[in-house]
């Protein structure tokens, strides 16, 4: 389900880093030796032979991240992002694998379009990439795509991300048929008759600023519906970019009742609230919108207690001139691949709100599990998917630092802590700084 160039795997030794893999039960200063792209040894004073040596002293080595929610804008808006720039940005953010969303132009709703993307990824991706295909043709919410053929052609899952599936009857058929393909169905939950024209979260801030509100119930109502359908059909599903307190409650309840549902949350929803929009910065405009402080708290709680197992960036590049307009005229979406770890480390881990282990798990194991991808592990015999992090590095985020073709980051100008020093993806050094 993941595609990249066929390249020779590397021989690498990462020396003297604090190696942390909560699932493998490791937290110790160790050398990690990678032979031909596979972790061959963990230990102290390992023989480096002729391997490339990466000094890890004072740094942290963890399983690399997986981002299951990336807009690569290809085909159609290659000026905003393409496979080369998107995977380079991902590597710089510590990711060893990403999944691209199908809301491109044309939509990824046929094996032909999917095939051309896979071919492009095989030729030029910097790290392995997978592609989700659409649930409905043209993402118009009317007719199912040929999901069987798409799965056979390599689709990593199905979603109409950006658009909800409005009709419950069709949603039910999608869940039923999706199960046949063995791929996960991922849902953008939005009741558009409630969110219509909405620019930001409905609440005291929108009332004061005059923006049309996008109430949290527009999300949670659809979350409730889709969980009810998943329970009835006994099928798994994945809920994209949750933003509301009520959605977290619904997911927690459904999971407790045995529904096989996973949920994801973005760095921006974990770090910010609607108060930030007082600045009218169009780089704070996204769908779903930033919500209230109590929603943010609920998302953090959900992340901590395992209701939410996935952190996804919803990396959504937009051309500079399209964002450089009044807030209301700007498109929805912000970038995130290159800043996710630093943002979350700065806003949540460093102040002691969540544990580093939780963050590492939700950025790596959780996303891989949600889509049935191989989990990055630091264990002998595993493919080397590693990220080397400098938790003490403090730096300012500027446009120049981005490898993405777009710079619509909500962190521009902010000083953050936590820097990716190296990313090893599928046994190759994909990034180092």
């Amino acid at each position: 389900m993941l595609f990249g160039p066929e390249q020779t795997k590397e021989n690498i030794v990462v020396r003297g880093a604090r190696v942390v893999d909560p699932v493998a039960g490791i937290d110790a200063v160790l050398d990690v030796r990678v032979d031909d792209g596979v972790i061959a040894a963990l230990g102290t004073d390992l023989d480096t032979n002729s391997h490339r040596v990466i000094e890890g002293e004072g740094l942290l080595l963890a399983p690399a991240f997986v981002d299951p929610h990336v807009h690569l804008r290809t085909p159609g808006r290659e000026d905003e992002e393409n496979i080369v720039s998107g995977t380079a940005a991902a590597a710089a953010g510590g990711y060893c694998a990403i999944l691209g969303m199908p809301n491109t132009d044309p939509v990824v709703d046929s094996a032909a379009t999917l095939g051309s993307l896979i071919e492009a990824a095989r030729a030029e991706a910097g790290i392995p990439v997978g592609f989700l295909a659409a649930i409905t043709k043209g993402q118009s919410g009317a007719e199912l795509t040929e999901m069987g053929e798409l799965a056979a052609a390599g689709a990593a899952g199905f979603t109409d991300d950006g658009m909800p599936i409005a009709a419950p009857g069709l949603m039910r058929r999608a869940l039923q048929y999706g199960a046949v393909t063995g791929r996960r169905i991922a849902l953008h939950c939005e009741e558009t008759t409630l969110s219509r024209d909405g620019q930001m979260h409905e609440g005291a801030v929108s009332a004061e600023l005059g923006f049309t509100g996008y109430p949290s119930v527009a999300e949670s109502l659809m979350v409730e519906r889709d969980l009810a359908l998943a329970a009835y059909e006994r099928q798994p599903l994945h809920l994209l970019h949750l933003s509301a307190w009520e959605s977290v409650q619904a997911l927690r309840r459904a999971r407790a009742e045995g529904v096989e549902a996973t949920g994801e949350v973005t760095p921006h929803h974990l770090c910010l609230t609607d108060e930030a929009i007082r600045s009218l910065d169009s780089n704070l405009k996204m769908n779903p919108p930033l919500r209230s402080a109590s929603d943010r708290t609920a998302l953090i709680e959900g992340l901590k207690d395992g209701t939410i197992t996935v952190i996804a960036t919803d990396h959504a590049p937009h051309a500079r001139h399209e964002k450089d307009v009044p807030f209301e005229a700007a498109p929805f979406g912000v970038t995130g691949l290159e800043t996710a770890f630093a943002a979350l480390y700065t806003h949540l881990v460093d102040p002691g709100i969540i544990k580093l282990e939780t963050l590492l798990d939700r950025m790596s194991t959780g996303p891989a599990q949600a889509y049935g991808l191989t989990e990055p592990r630091i264990a002998v015999g595993s493919h080397a998917n590693l990220v080397l992090l400098d938790l003490n590095a403090s730096y300012r985020i500027t446009e120049e630092t981005f490898r993405s073709r777009s710079v619509n980051s909500w962190l521009l100008g902010d000083t953050v802590k936590g820097k990716v020093r190296a990313t090893i993806a599928a046994g190759r050094l994909a990034y180092s700084a």
Binding site: G203, A204, E208, V325, P326, E328, A329
Partner: protein, 332 residues
């Protein structure tokens, strides 16, 4: 003549270059700012009682009015305010300009900024347009209405009108009636009244009272009878264009009028009535109310001129008119 003007301009100009200031949101200003602006407006009102109404105060300054939405009162009063202060003015409307050709607001602002205007007055249908213009030009920016967000000079002229009519602002009870949801006038006025210590009650249909609005420091109710307790009943325009079929904010304009229209029967004698215009007579306001002596609607229009003069003066001279005021006006 020239010599006189030069002397006067030196007299008015502060020694140092003033920091670039804007008038974009009531949120950005203080009670002291409001007091100063209202006092300046009062001074200008007296100057307008003369036979020759033009003052040389802003001679040589350039004020550009950019209106992306239709307007009668606001655009005409800004233009006249600038002219009364002897500034050069230019008015750009979106229709017939490069906006028709798809030029972005940013590019239009940069183009106008190339003329080195001292002030750009902008009205735009989108929230945040004035901030964008402030970011990309060197001009002082005055918000003449941005979407549903703010209309700060309207709030200022409304305070001016209330004070002239009632002699005070502190402790006044103002009922704002109608479509609060779509009203930038209401948002600015709620904040301005809170700043000066007045008490605000919003009255309207539930769908037109935005959720969370009480956190601006006011009350909100659907009960029209509450307006009888207010000193001032401020009626908002029912924006017909918002009431398109299927929006269902209210079932019909007829039903709106029946429940929330301001009629003489719903008022107490002596209550002052205001409306930012343009009025929909027979919809939100009964014609008998509009034409009654207690209606301050025409006063609001006159106040619009002098308060906008005060805003332009304040931005370009960095400070209170105070002591020098009288002499300035005498020179004129």
């Amino acid at each position: 003549m020239t010599a006189d003007i030069r002397v006067m301009r030196e007299d008015l100009r502060p020694p140092a270059t003033p920091p670039r200031r804007h008038f974009i949101s009531i949120k950005d200003i203080t009670r002291e700012d409001i007091e100063r602006l209202l006092a300046t407006a009062r001074t200008f009102e007296r100057s307008l009682e003369r036979e020759v109404k033009k003052l040389p105060t802003l001679k040589g300054r350039l004020v550009i009015n950019v209106f992306y939405e239709s307007s009668t009162r606001t655009s005409s009063s800004f233009e006249l305010a600038a002219k009364r202060l002897s500034a050069d003015t230019m008015s750009i409307k979106s229709s017939g300009s490069s906006v028709d050709k798809g030029e972005s607001l940013k590019d239009t602002a940069i183009t106008l900024g190339a003329y080195d205007p001292d002030v750009i007055v902008i009205r735009h249908p989108q929230i945040g347009a004035p901030q964008l213009v402030a970011r990309v030009t060197e001009a002082h920016v005055v918000n003449a209405g941005d979407g549903k967000h703010q209309h700060p000079t309207q709030a200022l002229l409304d305070l001016y009108t209330m004070r002239e009519a009632l002699g005070r602002l502190e402790g006044l009870h103002v009922a704002i009636v109608g479509d609060v949801l779509h009203s930038r006038v209401a948002r600015s006025l709620i904040q301005a009244l809170a700043l000066v210590g007045a008490h605000v009650t919003l009255v309207g249909p539930p769908g037109l009272l935005p959720r969370g609005i009480e956190e601006m420091g006011c009350e909100a109710t659907t009960e029209i009878s509450t307006i009888a307790g207010a000193d001032v009943v401020y009626i908002l325009r029912m924006q017909r264009e918002r009431m398109q079929e299927g929006a269902n904010y209210v079932p019909s304009l007829r039903e709106y009028t029946a429940r929330w229209g301001v009629t003489p029967e719903r008022l107490r004698p002596g209550q002052k009535v205001m409306h930012p215009g343009p009025m929909n007579r027979g919809v939100e306001i009964d014609p008998r109310v509009a034409d009654h002596a207690d209606a301050l609607i025409e006063t609001q229009v006159r106040a619009g001129l002098v308060t906008r003069m005060a805003v332009l003066y304040d931005l370009l001279t960095n400070g209170p008119i105070e002591v020098k005021t009288e002499s300035v006006l005498e020179v004129a």
